[in-house]
């Protein structure tokens, strides 16, 4: 792990992710105000000593709302990715180890699903499931599954013919043991790298759904929803949309940078050329 911290990308990513982690874990405890409390006297103000990041159309403190919304925004990204990666890995491992017609059928179906742009796919599923945080998370997870399954499959295929796997087969180990103990741990690298980068996509898609009114619902402080609610007032106080918007970008940036550094450290060919 420390090797990651040697590249500037890795350091920047780690710093951003630590900030995000602090906001998620301690945010609602250190928030200076109640995120839902109205302060009619100070509506739509810019940054000041009393309100570091300004206030929204009801005079609610933007910093407090930002900190309060961190768990739902980031949690969404992590949850959706975890579900999608889990389901995708299971399908990919099944396709990769089974081979033959099972593999062919699974791959053709995945190709079909991958032909639908990801956001469109997510929108269709959210419409089926109905809006809301949980439904949106499931939709993003489902939209991630085909892509992850493909990566898991190709990762498994590259491991399947290695000597240590063939040795396990020759030893007469049961199939379950070979998959779980020999193939999966060694196929995990590319899957983890892809998953880290996908968290940033998941955060962005989750915020987009919140923005479109299909994800988090008011009075949630989810960041995408904050941008949507602030849009009406953005010309009077740009901070209302800039604060949550930049927060989403920084969180996504953290996962992007860290994922890239992770890939470089796992792939010696890449790390050599820096």
């Amino acid at each position: 792990m420390p090797e990651i911290l040697r590249s500037p990308t890795g350091i920047a990513g780690a710093v951003l992710l630590s900030l995000v982690a602090v906001a998620v874990l301690a945010g609602s405890f250190v928030a200076p105000y109640d995120p839902q409390a109205f302060h009619p006297a100070t509506r739509l103000t810019g940054p000041s000593a009393a309100h570091w990041l300004g206030t929204d159309q009801f005079g609610r403190d933007l910093l407090s709302r930002l900190l309060n919304g961190a768990p739902s925004t980031i949690g969404f990204g992590l949850g959706a990715t975890l579900l999608g990666v889990g389901a995708g890995t299971v399908i990919g491992v099944i396709a990769g180890t089974a081979g033959g017609w099972v593999d062919s059928v699974i791959m053709r179906v995945l190709d079909g699903l991958l032909a639908v742009p990801e956001l469109l796919f997510t929108l269709l599923i959210v419409t089926i499931l109905g809006g809301g945080m949980g439904q949106a998370m499931l939709a993003v997870a489902l939209a991630f599954t085909p892509g992850m399954a493909r990566i898991a499959r190709s990762s498994v295929l590259s491991i399947r013919t290695r000597e240590y796997v063939l040795a396990a087969v020759a030893r007469g180990e049961p199939g379950c043991y070979i998959v779980l103990r020999e193939v999966l741990p060694n196929a995990l690298g590319p899957i983890i790298v892809e998953a880290t980068i996908r968290v940033s996509f998941a955060i962005m898609i989750g915020a987009t759904l919140g923005f479109l009114g299909l994800g988090a619902q008011p009075p949630s402080t989810e960041w995408g929803l904050m941008v949507a609610e602030g849009r009406q007032f953005m010309f009077r106080n740009p901070w209302v949309v800039a604060v949550p918007g930049v927060a989403i970008a920084l969180a996504a940036l953290g996962f992007n940078l860290f994922g890239d550094a992770l890939r470089d450290s796992l792939d010696p060919r890449r790390s050599v050329r820096g």
């Binding site: 179906v109 032909a115 990801e118 419409t127 962005m204 923005f211 941008v227 953005m234 989403i248």
Partner: protein, 316 residues
């Protein structure tokens, strides 16, 4: 390029599209609340809903509806919009051209900007130029379209600056200046994330190529640096760039949904959101199938271009 390679790729595309029709149809069939309920709203009695369902053909078994729909698609008949009382092909057709104008403008701008950026970053690796381009690429790739769009609106379309219109559409044939001023913000929003992505990919490929033995050989041969880059390095880094651009068309097609909604651009994305809100199944099916077809065809074209650029692919 062998004929067999083309044929195999074409067959794969057709198979994928067949699976897509099935998936799209399955998804729209399990949408809760059908169009009859949506049209009649709160005044619908169970009898009137049943009557309207019969009239719209929604009471038939799913496979009959599917066969009917696919048959229609093959004949170029996409059905009747349930909410707009217009043929779907008419509604979707107009929106398609509006979207195409936006997407192509964005894509051309991106290609023209991103490839040179990536090349410059690779040639000047480790310099300030590389750092700035790299930073821009990371930031661009981390901004969802709605955030970029909102920030662009605040800074360029607000009453304070008022440089550009906040939304709407002017056909290029109608007034070219009007079109340009309206297309700048949506195309810029779509372009940012793609420019980031593509320039990063080109930089990475170009760096690999520049470190390779044949570039060393070309330099040792005494060729001028400009020729080394234009004739030897660039063509070999372009095939992966084309692959990324074709994948990014998927992002682009998703992105137009959000961007059109924000900038009130009367294209497929805006139509789709309207149709989803109103359970206008024939429109949802047509838009989804159309976007998937465009994506699949652009991937096919990209594969052909890559095969033309890189002989190794053709014979694989």
């Amino acid at each position: 390029m062998t004929f067999g390679y083309l044929l195999r790729r074409l067959a794969a595309v057709l198979l994928v599209l067949f699976i897509v029709t099935f998936a799209v149809f399955a998804i729209t069939m399990i949408l809760p609340g059908n169009a009859a309920i949506m049209i009649l709203g709160e005044y619908g009695t169970p009898e009137s809903v049943a009557a309207l369902e019969r009239q719209l053909g929604l009471d038939r078994p799913w496979y009959v509806q599917y066969a009917d729909w696919v048959g229609g698609v093959l004949r170029g008949d996409l059905g009747q919009s349930l909410r707009l009382s217009l043929p779907v092909s008419e509604v979707v057709g107009q929106a398609f051209w509006n979207s195409a104008v936006l997407a192509v403008t964005a894509l051309v701008a991106v290609t023209v900007i991103a490839i040179p950026l990536g090349v410059v970053a690779a040639i000047r690796r480790g310099t300030a130029a590389d750092l700035v381009i790299g930073l821009f690429a990371y930031i661009g790739a981390s901004m969802p379209e709605f955030v970029t769009a909102t920030l662009l609106l605040v800074f360029l379309a607000g009453p304070a600056t008022g440089l550009l219109p906040a939304g709407g559409f002017v056909a290029p044939g109608e007034s070219f200046a009007g079109f340009v001023s309206h297309v700048l913000l949506p195309a810029g929003t779509l372009g940012l994330i793609l420019t980031a992505h593509i320039s990063r990919q080109v930089r990475s490929e170009m760096s690999d190529v520049l470190a390779s033995d044949y570039i060393r050989a070309a330099r040792l041969k005494g060729l001028r640096e400009r020729r080394v880059i234009r004739r030897h390095a660039l063509p070999n880094s372009l095939a992966p760039a084309v692959a990324v651009i074709s994948l990014d068309i998927g992002y682009l097609l998703g992105g137009i949904i959000v961007v059109e909604e924000i900038f009130a651009w009367p294209g497929l994305g805006r139509l789709l959101i309207y149709a989803l809100e109103n359970r206008d199944l024939p429109v949802i099916q047509a838009v989804t199938l159309l976007l998937a077809t465009v994506y699949a065809l652009s991937n096919l074209i990209a594969d052909i271009v890559i095969a033309l650029l890189d002989p190794r692919v053709r014979y694989a």
